[in-house]
């Protein structure tokens, strides 16, 4: 009986293995450890463990899933799991695809390209416009995407989603968010992109733990330019956010950053990044806090799966005190 059980077990195991191999499943991950010197003390920590799975289901359908395990003080175990992306991709024709699920909103280059993969980040942390929640990082919905079309290698994303204030399962209102992003790659390793995002956030919606007491009509316009050449790297992005409420009228926020790095002696890359966020007086949707940050660092690329960064950051904030932080990070992919 026992032998029969093992026999059946192995047949099922081999059959599943066969299915896996025919579906080309890949499992990858990213993790990092970081140490910081801030307020006259050294702290050790880590960001998140990021696991992602890709699978080719058949000739036209593929899947990408990304889950993150991270420290969450409010959780009973002090750790939380979040689904960052669930993407079912259906190839319609040529380079045109139908995308369904939860995506990194294709609003700018950083969000669409790196997001959780710190081994790819050119700096230790994301630009400050991410922490300030200027752009919606994720969208759950459906859209079409195309890439490398024509001589200019034109690409587009048109995505309709539940919008801000919605849960992962159900929309909180009838309004849908719309993201339209286009880009071209006119020269080798050069990419220029533009995007527009619109959402109407209902009165009473909860966005990132904050209750919105007014209906907000939001338009975001983003521009980005990136060139990661053999030696010189540059990435500049800017978002103009227009939030309209009946109480305050139209308020404008500008968030920009520019990163530049230069590869010297093999795998060493010194770099700088300048960030700035400026809110118009009377802004009530975002947490108004004008900020400027300067980052200067050195990156050593041990291999494509292991990167060490040492960085100094000065941050000036309208509300908080100025900060001077020195950080080091060891990021790996596996």
């Amino acid at each position: 009986m026992r032998r029969k059980f093992f026999c059946i077990y192995w047949i099922i195991f081999l059959a599943l293995a066969q299915v896996s191999s025919s579906q080309s499943i890949q499992i990858k991950g990213f993790v990092d450890v970081t140490t910081t010197f801030d307020q006259k003390k050294v702290s050790f920590g880590f960001d998140e463990e990021d696991l992602f799975i890709t699978a080719v289901v058949n000739d036209r359908i593929s899947f990408l899933g990304e889950s993150v395990f991270k420290y969450e003080p409010a959780s009973p175990t002090e750790y939380g799991v979040s689904i960052e992306r669930i993407i079912i991709n259906y190839n319609i024709k040529g380079n045109h695809n139908l995308i369904m699920g939860k995506v990194h909103t294709p609003i700018n280059y950083w969000n669409d390209t790196y997001h959780h993969g710190r081994v790819f980040f050119p700096t230790i942390e994301r630009p400050i416009l991410f922490a300030a929640n200027i752009i919606p990082l994720h969208t759950v919905g459906i859209g079409v995407q195309g890439h490398d079309l024509g001589k200019l290698k034109f690409g587009y994303d048109l995505f309709v989603g539940n919008g801000l204030g919605s849960s992962e399962i159900v929309d909180n209102d009838k309004n849908k968010s719309v993201t339209l992003a286009v880009h071209i790659k006119p020269a080798d390793k050069l990419r220029i992109g533009f995007s527009w995002y619109n959402d109407v956030i209902s009165k009473g919606a909860s966005v990132l733990g904050k209750t919105i007491n007014w209906q907000v009509n939001q338009h975001l316009f983003s521009l980005s330019l990136s060139r990661f050449g053999k030696k010189f790297e540059v990435l500049a992005e800017g978002t103009a956010g227009f939030n309209h409420t009946d109480t305050t009228g139209l308020k404008t926020t500008f968030a920009t950053y520019i990163y530049a790095g230069y590869k010297i002696i093999g795998k060493w890359v010194p770099y700088v990044r300048l960030d700035n966020i400026h809110y118009q007086q009377g802004e009530i949707y975002y947490n108004k806090n004008n900020m400027t940050s300067i980052v200067a660092g050195l990156r050593y690329e041990i291999s494509y799966l292991a990167v060490v960064k040492l960085e100094y950051q000065f941050q000036h904030s309208e509300i908080l005190n100025n900060t001077n932080i020195v950080s080091a990070q060891f990021a790996i992919g596996f």
Partner: protein, 149 residues
């Protein structure tokens, strides 16, 4: 004594330079499954395909890329000659593209025979080798009018 050591250094340097240039000048050939890839391509078209910029061939077959691993001599030559990258840069390029959900990863192989069998068995597959093969199930692809490049 000094001139002897200088001569030794000179010879070692020359050997190193010649071996580097040899790997850069290694000849490569493109091969494809009988179904999918065309028999003639421009080098720029080949590069675009191998950079993941094309999802389907004209006959509708999905483009499937087959490459030698970047730690093999053919893989190194492929990285340099087609992608203008080191092996590490090529691996990073693909990992990033797959992570973004923008492309399916290429299939990497340890041996020429494995790559050849894979291309023969998968419609739409295109691969890079170092010499033409006498295999009826695989077709050579002329690049800029040449069998090898």
């Amino acid at each position: 004594m000094c001139s002897l050591s200088n001569a030794f250094l000179f010879i070692v340097s020359m050997l190193l330079i010649s071996s580097t240039s040899r790997s850069q000048e290694a000849t490569l050939v493109a091969v494809g499954n009988q179904s999918g890839a065309p028999s003639v391509m421009k080098f720029s078209e080949l590069k675009a395909v191998l950079m993941g910029e094309k999802q389907r061939w004209k006959n509708g077959n999905r483009v499937i890329i087959a490459l030698m691993k970047t730690n093999t001599p053919i893989g190194r030559a492929t990285s340099l000659k087609i992608y203008d990258m080191t092996g590490d840069e090529l691996n990073k390029f693909w990992l990033a593209l797959v992570f973004q959900g923008k492309a399916q990863a290429p299939n990497f192989f340890n041996s020429v025979n494995e790559l050849e069998t894979f291309v023969a068995q998968n419609p739409g597959a295109i691969g890079i080798l170092n010499k033409p093969l006498a295999d009826a199930e695989i077709k050579p692809i002329m690049i800029d009018g040449q069998k090898a490049f």
